[in-house]
């Protein structure tokens, strides 16, 4: 079994580094996201755990950054996959068909940031916010309630 994640994903990585707390991260294109998850699942016997998807709004850069926080069971190591999507057209391929456990995290990010996960058939609103908020995306920086 491979122990180094970066060897498997060499071609896709745009940038890599480490967040404080010793959590390694890699930056990739949104279009490559599904390939990466597939490669990881294949390399690690399908034992990849999605901890959560953290979305961050950067209005100054005009992007929403999605952090797919993963834990790889066989090697007991975390990996954060960062993907940037434009704020005005926030679309990213869904990974729920590979890892069904990611469903609630995709729904949460869709609810709070308005990111569309292409391919996720259960993407309904509201998931967690109040119904009277309608199409609001409350965790975006420019939202005023």
């Amino acid at each position: 079994m491979v122990s180094n994640v970066e060897d498997i994903l060499k071609e896709e990585i745009k940038e890599s580094g480490e967040l404080k707390g010793k959590y390694p991260y890699i930056k990739v294109d949104a279009s490559k996201l599904r390939d990466i998850i597939l490669k990881l699942l294949k390399a690690f016997d399908e034992e990849v755990h999605v901890i959560t998807i953290t979305a961050v709004d950067y209005p100054d850069k005009g992007v929403l950054e999605l952090n797919y926080e993963l834990w790889i069971y066989p090697i007991k190591k975390p990996l954060i996959v960062k993907v940037e999507v434009p704020r005005d057209k926030p679309e990213v391929p869904s990974i729920v068909d590979f890892i069904p456990g990611a469903l609630f995290y995709e729904l949460e990010v869709h609810d709070l940031f308005g990111v569309k996960f292409i391919g996720n058939k259960q993407l309904v609103k509201p998931f967690i916010i109040s119904e009277d908020l309608g199409e609001a995306t409350p965790l975006r920086k420019d939202w005023r309630g």
Partner: protein, 385 residues
């Protein structure tokens, strides 16, 4: 046979928190279950973005009353990671002690509720009576029963005296004896076994596919525990066992919690006996430099993660919290399928759901289990009394 919709909640008969489950039933058998969450959404993640790091400590512990220590440990750690500081050894041990006392109280709370849901009310009352032992210890060590505000950025707020440590060890031996007795009850009692064995089975493969965490994962043979796999506080220096069972049913998930309670008692005892000397906190820092940090802890219900983005200054740019129940709920909804209506409470209780933290956002008074909203003025008036 026609399919009937059965609505559980939001004022749920089996739970003390608002949540809605829509069950599609065919006769007695559940064919599909859909949870609807969000009834206690308070927008805490947005609130973090408007409050200082110091206020964040108190905000984070209000995400969940029951596992408040896990939340403050995780919050303080993520800020410490961003600052690049590490609390002194004595503080790390004290954090571990309070974190584990919190786990004991949470697990006993759940085991009591589980007994109640299974229709074994006497056991529920006995477990909750003995849970008072640990509640008293938490009060003795931290100054409060539930909301402790014990952890702070760079350490802890109170120290333990040798007398307090001695009292703790004494009370823990008494509690250990009781928990060992409850272990025997959960292991052997025919009523409990009939209600839980081979009910709500979650095979290991499914557990990984649905990304479950904590005792729910360990009850399905997934060998994972952040305390061991990614140590924090003093867990790298304290010996303890990770409880993993391979029965994958409701019973296994309850047994994992019983055994973890015993492990937690041992951890607290070891930490009290090996408590290093020295400072309990570092000087307070109000501002955090630009940084991105992550911290995870093993909360009583499972993995808890905080992801902080700082752009400098005294207020976080973004703080993401993922609580364990949100991770377990999706799998739980699948567990109902194929089981009977009577098994619904047993399965639900086996995931130890905590919806206030799932929705991240109500304060429950554990003394009487009532939700209370108190105005600041009222709170100040009560404090003066």
């Amino acid at each position: 046979m026609s399919v009937i919709n059965l609505i559980f909640g939001p004022q749920h008969p089996a739970l003390h928190e608002p949540e809605l489950f829509r069950f599609k039933v065919e006769g007695e058998i559940v064919v599909k279950a859909e949870p609807r969450i969000g009834y206690v959404h308070r927008g805490i993640e947005k609130l973090f973005e408007r409050n200082s790091y110091i206020r964040g400590i108190y905000l984070s512990e209000r995400i969940c009353g029951i596992c408040n220590a896990a939340h403050t440990v995780c919050y303080c750690q993520v800020v410490e990671n961003a600052l690049g500081i590490e609390p002194p050894p004595r503080a790390r041990y004290l954090r571990t002690i309070v974190h584990e006392l919190n786990r004991i109280h949470s697990h006993l709370l759940l085991l009591g509720v589980a007994a109640e849901e299974l229709g074994f009310d006497t056991l529920f009352m006995l477990i909750w009576r003995d849970r008072e032992l640990v509640m008293d210890l938490i009060e003795l060590v931290t100054g409060n029963r539930v909301m402790t505000a014990f952890n702070t950025i760079g350490g802890v707020r109170r120290d333990i005296t040798p007398e307090v440590a001695e009292k703790c060890i004494k009370a823990l031996s008494k509690l250990e004896e009781r928990v060992k007795y409850y272990r025997k009850v959960f292991e052997e009692d025919p009523t409990i076994r009939r209600r839980t064995v081979e009910v709500g089975v979650l095979p290991r493969k499914e557990a990984i596919k649905y990304c479950v965490v904590g005792p729910m994962a360990r009850g399905s043979a997934v060998d994972v525990d952040i305390r061991r796999d990614w140590p924090y506080a003093a867990y790298d220096e304290i010996p303890f066992n990770v409880i993993v069972r391979d029965e994958c049913d409701v019973w296994a998930r309850l047994m994992v919690r019983v055994d973890e309670t015993i492990e937690a008692i041992n951890i607290v005892r070891y930490a009290l006996e090996h408590l290093p000397k020295g400072e309990i906190r570092l000087p307070l820092r109000r501002a955090v430099p630009p940084a991105e940090a992550v911290s995870r802890v093993e909360a009583p219900r499972g993995e808890l993660i905080y992801h902080l983005i700082s752009k400098g200054g005294t207020i976080p740019y973004r703080l993401k919290v993922r609580t364990p129940t949100l991770a377990n709920l999706l799998a739980a909804a699948k567990l109902f399928e194929g089981n009977t209506i009577a098994d619904i409470p047993a399965i639900l209780v086996s995931i130890d759901p905590c919806f206030a933290c799932t929705d991240r956002v109500t304060l429950i008074d554990l003394k009487d289990n009532k939700v209370k909203r108190v105005s600041l003025r009222e709170l100040a008036r009560r404090c003066r009394k």
